[in-house]
């Protein structure tokens, strides 16, 4: 869905690094199919990531879509339109 604008900086690695940063863990821990809730994700952090990624070129990212399936691989498809 909703591919981001050309020239944006939202790569799978960037998403992984952003998630690791808000969770306070190492990027390697954020494996593509890990349940982010098990890594300590909460709804406020999800909302913060939504804002961050919108500002970075993915204006159509929605909280509800991310919250539905909190995994890096799913999020990467939603935000970048590509597989992680």
């Amino acid at each position: 869905m909703n591919a981001p604008a050309p020239g944006h900086a939202l790569t799978a690695d960037r998403l992984r690094a952003d998630i690791a940063e808000v969770l306070g863990c190492a990027p390697e821990e954020v494996t593509p199919d890990a349940d982010l809730l098990d890594l300590g994700l909460d709804s406020m952090r999800t909302m913060a990531l939504v804002e961050r990624w919108r500002a970075a070129g993915a204006p159509a990212v929605e909280f509800a879509d991310l919250a539905e399936e909190p995994r890096l691989d799913h999020w990467t498809r939603l935000v970048t339109g590509a597989d992680s």
Binding site: D35, R45, M47
Partner: protein
């Protein structure tokens, strides 16, 4: 007969009646009055499974009458308890008034509660029924209710909003029902307990209506106000501060927000012309950020109430300019006492305090914080930090069926020990500076350290656990669990979180941070007192 709750002493009750605080009106009678005064005006707007309903006061009244008759026909009687787990869907409102008209007592579960909590509420209240929804946010609430009903003998009925059975129940021909006693219990709220599972809080028609009515006045609600219930409406804050009930009380429109993220809330603020809503500080921060980029028109919004946890000064200062609103801080508790900054207070009080009590008859004492059994006379000097005690016309005198706990949570002269540490200024405004109870305030959700420790210690790899609050950029505070494994075991954070979630526990209680340690990294404490251990660990993580 022994009472399950602790009524106010008769002379005190007489005083509250004489002052006009308690007016002898039930919620059911209030709705009848509102339906006469505001029949064609919109009362409730909300959506369920993507379908929007819009009911005027006459329609809300009709629906509440039918649900009451349907419940009565199903065998629900006055005084029976009914666990209600209904999220922010339009049916929440008529269900509530329907239960009140039968005289049954709703026991307010939150949408986030799961098997462990729901079972506890049903057992603790000996509930006769559970009233829930089919599904919400991809969770099967009907299955949860049936699972609890199968294990709790008192629960004979499950009613599911969204089922054919409930549609039929809601179509029952209204009938005359005896009017409940307005000074009697109307419902049970949940405490944000600090010892194990939540306690149940008995509130009466008289006392709760007083607090909702005064809240509506203090928040300047008018018939043309539009209140958005952004947080789950079963919480005391969106229910009555001024909340759904305060808004209905003045004939205003209530909009139920299915989810509090900025996209969802801003869409509804724009579409419905919302004038006032209430959020917890982390949500306020998220909305402030999102407002800079939103395409939605927020210009109708006049007042944003912020409460549930302390709103820091820096955030408080950004709210007005970013959202184009007047900030109103709220500090309240389901046990009673609610404080507001007033709309005409000087900025310094609005930004720097959590407000002053609703009522001139709210008695507030700030006492020795070092002494957990300090009496109402052990006052600290004015302006100094102390433990907050309170009693008044809408603050309970005891929890439901909890005599032992009550002897600690209340002073002999009836003051409730709130567990909050406050400073009281010369204007009577309170600044919340911390708490004496062992609780984590996770973005407004109160988490009892002991309850999470109990869940952790149920894991076979865990020898001991201590849970403390750590400051958090996103939530204000979150939980950090120190876990000592049994010899040879190596539990992990993700594994322990999965384990606790699988036990059927609200997601907000799953520990955010987990530190597996060979022994607790503090010396000289904790051998005998978990309280001292938690304090030492909390000090340690604050320094880190």
């Amino acid at each position: 007969m022994t009472l399950d709750h602790s009524p106010w002493p008769q002379d005190v009750a007489a005083r509250y009646r004489a002052a006009g605080h308690w007016r002898g009106q039930t919620f059911g009678a209030l709705l009848t009055e509102l339906a006469e005064a505001h029949a064609p005006r919109t009362a409730v707007v909300g959506e369920r499974h993507g379908v929007t309903s819009r009911w005027d006061y006459a329609e809300l009244d009709r629906r509440a009458h039918r649900i009451a008759a349907g419940l009565a026909e199903a065998g629900i009687r006055a005084g029976q308890r009914v666990v209600v787990q209904v999220p922010n869907v339009p049916e929440f409102v008529p269900v509530l008034f329907g239960l009140w008209r039968v005289g049954a007592w709703p026991v307010f579960a939150l949408p986030a509660h799961r098997y462990t909590e729901l079972r506890h509420f049903a057992e603790q209240s000996e509930a006769a029924a559970i009233l829930t929804v089919d599904a919400h946010e991809r969770y099967d609430h009907a299955a949860l209710a049936h699972a609890v009903a199968a294990e709790v003998p008192s629960v004979r009925q499950v009613h599911v909003v969204g089922s054919t059975e409930f549609d039929e129940l809601s179509a029952t021909t209204p009938r005359e029902l005896p009017e409940p006693d307005p000074s009697g219990v109307a419902f049970l709220q949940l405490s944000g307990g600090s010892t194990g599972l939540p306690k149940l809080i008995p509130r009466t028609h008289d006392d709760y209506l007083y607090s909702a009515r005064e809240s509506a006045r203090i928040c300047a609600l008018r018939p043309d106000s539009v209140y958005l219930a952004a947080l789950p409406a079963a919480h005391n804050f969106p229910l009555s501060s001024p909340g759904v009930l305060g808004a209905l009380h003045v004939g205003a429109k209530v909009v139920l927000c299915p989810r509090p993220d900025a996209d969802t809330a801003f869409r509804l603020i724009d579409r419905e012309g919302v004038t006032i809503t209430g959020v917890v500080p982390p949500l306020a921060a998220s909305w402030v950020q999102a407002a800079a980029r939103t395409e939605h028109d927020l210009s109708t919004l006049e007042v944003l109430l912020v409460g549930g946890a302390k709103c820091g000064r820096e955030l408080a200062e950004r709210i007005g300019p970013a959202l184009g609103v007047r900030l109103q801080q709220v500090f309240g508790m389901a046990e009673g006492l609610v404080c507001y900054t007033r709309l005409d207070d000087p900025d310094d009080l609005v930004l720097g305090t959590q407000g002053r009590p609703i009522s001139p008859d709210d008695e507030v004492r700030v006492v020795d914080p070092e002494n957990p059994s300090a009496g109402s006379d052990d006052l600290v000097p004015p302006g100094e930090t102390g433990a907050l005690l309170t009693r008044g016309p809408y603050t309970i005198r005891g929890y439901y069926r909890a005599p032992e706990h009550n002897s600690r949570a209340f002073t002999p002269d009836g003051f409730y020990r709130t567990g909050d540490l406050v400073r009281r200024g010369p204007t009577g405004h309170l600044e919340v500076v911390g708490r004496a109870k062992e609780q984590i305030n996770r973005g407004g959700e109160k988490v009892a350290a002991e309850e999470v420790e109990d869940h952790l210690m149920a894991h076979p790899d865990v020898l001991d656990a201590a849970v403390v609050a750590v400051p958090d950029e996103y939530l204000g505070e979150r939980t950090c669990a120190f876990v000592v494994p049994v010899a040879g075991a190596a539990p992990t954070g993700p594994g322990l979180r999965r384990f606790i979630r699988a036990r059927g526990v609200a997601a907000f209680k799953v520990p955010d941070l987990v530190q597996v340690v060979a022994e607790f990294p503090v010396t000289g404490v904790g051998k005998t007192s978990k309280r001292d251990l938690r304090a030492a660990l909390a000090a340690l993580v604050r320094k880190a």
